[in-house]
Symmetry: C2
Subunit: 360 residues, 2 copies
């Protein structure tokens, strides 16, 4: 018996995540029947290649969901908030990569390596995929949690500019072309002068960042979430709690953009209920699905964004036990924010839904 292959709509096919999704669909070519590419009216008529064939981009409308089994939403929050319910009302299962539904109690937040079954219970017909910062860390931390019992996370991120979408990448490239080959960076204000008018929020060419990002780091990601926190920092807290099923998990995050194109890094202090040994942590990480252990720093083996970009797994290195706390580990984690941090996780969830549909 050959089951009917489910049909797929990719909403946001022209974006940063959309581009990576098209590559993943070409690599996993036998999962889907029809694949429909959708974006804003600005992109209608553009031709994109998927599974080796040119396909025309459709403008988002109610009609694009006709006959669609699964719809991937790779668009800004407000577009998901408005259009995902329309897609579900037409019978599609929505896998949403925006923040619109992540903390909705009736929407499961799914990382297939950790809580795959959660995707089956979806009262609103929507499954959400976490933020790229959460995803870059949770697969590794979740594997350790299963054995040691996670109690607290203190995380500092080194986030790639592509997590601010195409605009983030463009801003870094424009800024770099202005500063590379110059002597900028050693004198007061020279980077700011070259990249903007010196006001704290100005950055010369259009930029989604609150300060220059070339030759700089920017400790602010997202919007103001109150009490000094940024929205991205609270997202890590709430999403880790939801995915791991640990509503009391202690979490403090500091989110910082760095001049890296793709792949997020995280410096992580993780405290557990039980004593931890580095050898055992190594064993767990070496065999955990979706994780690569790369940890021999004296010989140069630690993960960096340039090792990890374009790869699927979460890479972990610099694992060591805190000197003052036998229950805590320090580690450095890297993951490609466009792959596992976004498109790949969405594709994994979508494929599990496809398997459900096909097996009915």
């Amino acid at each position: 018996m050959t089951a009917r292959r489910p049909s797929l709509a990719v909403v946001g096919a022209t974006g940063a995540i959309g581009g990576v999704m098209l590559r993943i669909l070409s690599q996993h070519a036998d999962v889907w029947g029809e694949v429909r590419l959708v974006a804003s009216p600005r992109s209608a008529g553009r031709k994109l290649v998927v599974r080796g064939e040119e396909s025309e981009v459709l403008a988002l409308s109610e009609d694009v969901f006709d006959g669609i089994d699964v719809a991937l939403f790779l668009v800004p929050d407000e577009v998901s908030a408005r259009w995902a319910p329309i897609a579900t009302s037409k019978g599609a299962v929505v896998i949403d990569d925006s923040a619109a539904f992540r903390l909705d109690d009736d929407v499961p937040l799914v990382v297939p390596e950790i809580n795959p079954h959660a995707a089956r219970l979806r009262p609103r017909g929507i499954v959400a995929s976490p933020n790229c910062t959460t995803l870059s860390l949770i697969v590794a931390v979740g594997a350790l949690h299963a054995e040691f019992g996670l109690r607290e996370l203190i995380v500092s991120s080194y986030q790639a500019v592509s997590s601010a979408g195409r605009d983030g990448v463009t801003a870094l490239r424009e800024q770099l072309s202005l500063v590379a080959g110059t002597e900028l960076g050693t004198h007061p204000g020279d980077v700011r002068r070259a990249l903007g008018d010196g006001a704290p929020t100005s950055t010369g060419p259009f930029s989604p960042f609150a300060a220059p990002v070339a030759l700089n780091v920017v400790p602010w990601a997202g919007t103001d979430a109150g009490d000094g926190w940024s929205s991205e920092e609270l997202a890590i807290r709430e999403e880790c709690r939801k995915v791991l099923g640990l509503p009391e998990l202690r979490t403090s995050a500091t989110c910082v953009y760095v001049p890296v194109v793709a792949a997020h890094s995280m410096s992580v202090h993780a405290r557990f209920e039980n004593e931890v040994a580095v050898d055992r942590a190594h064993e767990i990480l070496a065999t955990a699905p979706g994780v690569v252990l790369f940890d021999s720093p004296a010989s140069g083996d630690f993960p960096t964004p340039s090792d990890v970009v374009g790869t699927d797994p979460t890479w972990v290195g610099r694992v060591r036990r805190s000197m003052d706390d036998s229950r805590a580990l320090e580690m450095f984690i890297c993951g490609d924010n466009l792959r596992k941090g976004a498109a790949l996780n969405v594709a994994q969830i979508a494929e599990s839904v496809a398997a459900e549909i096909t097996s009915v």
Copy 2:
């Protein structure tokens, strides 16, 4: 009465720290009598400007310390280890910026804002200045400690390449000129291919870093200190304990190079003995000597390296109370590693010794 001005030797005048020191000496022009510039035989005869006058660089030898009251050592560890005792044997007080003597029980480790009096008791005639990573953080943390009682520090650094000296800056500039204007950074291995042969430790043009640093971050600074720690991470631990006089202070650091020329940043989780309030922390930081409070993130006021480079103080922002622990604060701290992180702290110590000498 006009006191005799003490004489000064600057050993390492041609280096990254040396260059900043010459600018500081020109700004504080009335402290010193004769100023003698010293470097390796490679630099002998070069002319450098200090206090508006050209001065010829002397090759390091015993004779350069004849008649010198204070000698600044801004040279690699092994050069300090060998030559500082020679300078003291000739009657000079040595202020050493290398790691050679920092943890020696008979050598005080001094940050003038925190333990100024320690500089007066120097059994070996040597005073040491901390590592730039320690210095970038300790002035702010020390001010909070005085009121709240510090118990634990969990620190992740975003370190500028100039903390690896001139070679670090050259490596970043060469690597940037290879990657800027390209599409590099989004595909597997392309940064590594452009900058080296793909082996983990190779980075194309000569580099002191263990991985490419342009469009990348490198979570390894210094040498292998055992159990997975780098020497720079243990330095933060031991030096904070020594300067603050807290031999039991719990400390975990993760040191990471970022593609920034100058100014170190630190994401800090600080746990105290007593409850902390952000308002009170703000008051303390706003009035602490050597600290600038820059903390209104929603309006773009948080410190970044590009704000801080070339300035003297330690800048603090993103101050917030941990959501799960009323005794802990999160904050983001930036300081210029070449100024307060090195040359300025050495100059401050040297000036306090000069004041001693002049007042005798």
